[in-house]
């Protein structure tokens, strides 16, 4: 791929704008709360798009196009099963606790609901996860630019890291959130022409369907038999593994996304944030799954037009390169710059989201309670800014470690899965069963993580896992991930209940505003229906069910 002057102009324009946003926001940053939590002043349309954009990192964009090509339309389950329901649940039931408790972070909620050790466990594991994720995004960006544009790996890493650092250092969370919204539009508008032109080239959806195996274009029809669908999963594993444990575990407990809802102006907008965000999330498969399916269709003899997904050293299709290869094939100079900028935006958006979540959790949940208490607000503002720089430097270091060890990404994803998988059980019990105790939550989390590691060690999929004994073979790595998550959730759930039953719970007085049965219910009357939580949530549920039926 060769870039021309127009392409470089668009890339430079984007860099100028993201740094410019940081400069403009800088004047508004007066306190640690402004820098790390945006002082709860951000309007709904921005929090919703930032909520979705924080999740729209490179792994999402490139990964879902790759999955579309590899697994076909069943990839939409990550949206219509694995996201929408959890986002609605978060908005309707969980945001009142996160927002109403006045906690500044998810670990801080755990401190209020349980105790310091549960907060510490969650804060430390989350901080490590986010800063390493940021590094992986940085590595993937530099690697991608090295492969497709032949840019120098080191220079790409340092330029991208410096740009993200500058705009977060100046404008904190608000700057990151504003840029996430710009990145969202860039990704959607930048890739839309690609979808249209590739689909047109393939002869439309009917031609794609006619030229692919039926299990590549039906979302549910073949899920009754695990050997008949590309995921190698029975629909029950899909619904409980992805649709319940993984989905709710991510959307309802991950501070990276919840932070965007916690900065809304008021409770109603905080609750509406994930619900409004569910609208673009529902339509996202058009941008990130459809191109993958069209790409694989274009390689069928009847539709062949010269486009090919590149192969790796072993001669296998390199699905990760599906999106970059589509861009190279269809985008001329000019739009090519937009496509490359959109790719960069997705990497930088993922990185910035992780860094802002990291600096908030480190400052509020690790530094303030464990190292330096009761200092002035200015002190914590400076610490927050320093942590931003440190977080970026650790990300750069992680990117270089990833370069040296090919498997580091797989390893980290695995560890993240072990930590994140069981987390939703802790929140579910903590918010809806007042008898849940701090000891129950802590030991449940630990047991769930151990359960996840053991399950991975005893199962094998695509050559991965089975490091204790490969007792059970699973067809796909994705299927293995669902089963690991499911087991870890069950282990956490029952351990938490058992330990809670033999330990002393907090008094009702201490749990007011933190537990469903002891919290005043949110009144959602007044105003037009489209500004109210329940009607909008019900409408989205209905549309999601209809989409699943249409693509059954």
């Amino acid at each position: 791929m060769d870039l021309k002057m127009a392409d470089y102009c668009i890339i430079i324009l984007y860099f100028l704008f993201v740094i410019g946003v940081g400069f403009v926001i800088k004047r508004k940053i007066k306190s640690s709360n402004d820098f790390l939590a945006s002082s709860r002043t951000i309007p709904l349309w921005i929090t919703s798009l930032a909520f979705i954009s924080a999740n729209l990192g490179a792994q999402e964009v490139i990964g879902m196009v790759a999955s579309g090509a590899k697994y076909g339309i069943v990839t939409v389950h990550f949206y219509w099963v694995g996201a929408i329901f959890a986002m609605i649940f978060l908005g309707v039931y969980m945001m009142p606790f996160y927002y109403g408790s006045r906690a500044r972070s998810v670990p801080e909620y755990l401190k209020l609901r349980f105790d310091e050790k549960t907060r510490g466990l969650n804060a430390i594991s989350f901080a490590v996860m986010t800063v390493f994720s940021s590094g992986i995004s940085l590595y993937a960006l530099a690697k991608m630019l090295e492969i497709i544009l032949k840019w120098n790996f080191d220079i790409s890493i340092w330029i991208a890291a410096c740009i993200v650092m500058v705009y977060i250092f100046m404008g904190g969370l608000t700057s990151a959130v504003y840029n996430e919204v710009l990145q969202f539009f860039l990704i959607v508008l930048g890739f839309s022409p690609l979808v249209i032109v590739a689909l047109q080239d393939a002869g439309g959806w009917a031609a794609v369907k006619a030229n692919l195996a039926p299990n590549m274009t039906h979302a549910w029809k073949y899920m009754g038999d695990k050997d008949a669908n590309p995921l190698g999963l029975h629909f029950m594993s899909l619904i409980f593994g992805l649709g319940f444990v993984m989905s709710f575990g991510y959307w309802c407990t991950d501070f990276l996304v919840i932070q965007r809802a916690m900065i809304a102006k008021n409770m109603r907008e905080a609750r509406l944030t994930p619900i409004v965000a569910a609208v673009p999330k529902m339509l996202m498969p058009l941008i990130v799954v459809l191109p993958g399916i069209v790409a694989i269709a274009l390689m069928q003899p009847a539709l062949a037009n010269g486009y090919k997904i590149p192969v790796d050293e072993s001669g296998q299709l390199n699905y990760t390169m599906t999106l970059p290869s589509l861009i190279a094939h269809y985008y001329p100079s000019g739009l090519l710059g937009v496509g490359i900028t959109a790719l960069m935006a997705s990497f930088m958006s993922g990185m910035a989201g992780n860094v802002t979540a990291f600096n908030a959790v480190f400052t509020f949940d690790i530094y303030q309670p464990y190292f330096v208490k009761n200092k002035s607000d200015r002190h914590y503002l400076i610490v927050g800014k320093c942590v931003t720089v440190v977080g970026i430097l650790i990300s750069v270091m992680t990117a270089y470690i990833a370069k040296g060890f090919n498997n580091i990404n797989d390893f980290l994803q695995l560890v993240f899965g072990f930590v994140n998988g069981p987390l939703f059980a802790t929140f579910l019990l903590g918010m809806f069963w007042k008898r849940t105790t701090a000891h129950g939550a802590f030991w449940g989390l630990l047991a769930g993580t151990v359960g996840a590691a053991l399950t991975h060690g005893l199962t094998m999929a695509e050559g991965k896992g089975g490091w204790i004994a490969p007792l059970y073979e699973i067809k796909s790595g994705m299927g293995q991930a669902f089963i690991v998550a499911l087991v870890s959730w069950i282990v956490n759930f029952f351990t938490t209940i058992l330990v809670s039953l033999v330990t002393k719970p907090k008094s009702d007085e201490e749990l007011k505003g933190l537990v469903y049965s002891l919290t005043e219910k949110q009144v959602d009357h007044g105003g037009p229906w489209y500004k109210r939580v329940t009607p909008v949530a019900l409408l989205l549920l209905l549309i999601t069910i209809i989409l699943n039926i249409i693509f059954f």
Binding site: M5, C9, L13, F17, L186, L335, V338
Partner: protein, 60 residues
């Protein structure tokens, strides 16, 4: 003018409007007449102008 940059809708609108201008200029100067570039530039321009219009409504 600088105050306008406080409004995110204006920033987004300005970004896409300038991107559209670059795409149009690229077509004019290179003489490629790539339809996909022209259609995309028109769509970006329309979106950019719409966002700038929204920002002026927000302001008033």
């Amino acid at each position: 003018m600088l105050k306008k940059f406080n409004q995110l809708s204006f920033v987004i609108g300005a970004f896409f409007a300038i991107t559209a201008v670059i795409l149009f200029a690229n077509e004019l100067l290179s003489g490629m007449a790539e339809k996909i570039n022209l259609y995309s530039a028109a769509a970006f321009l329309a979106f950019g102008v719409f966002m700038i219009y929204l920002s002026s409504k927000e302001e008033s």
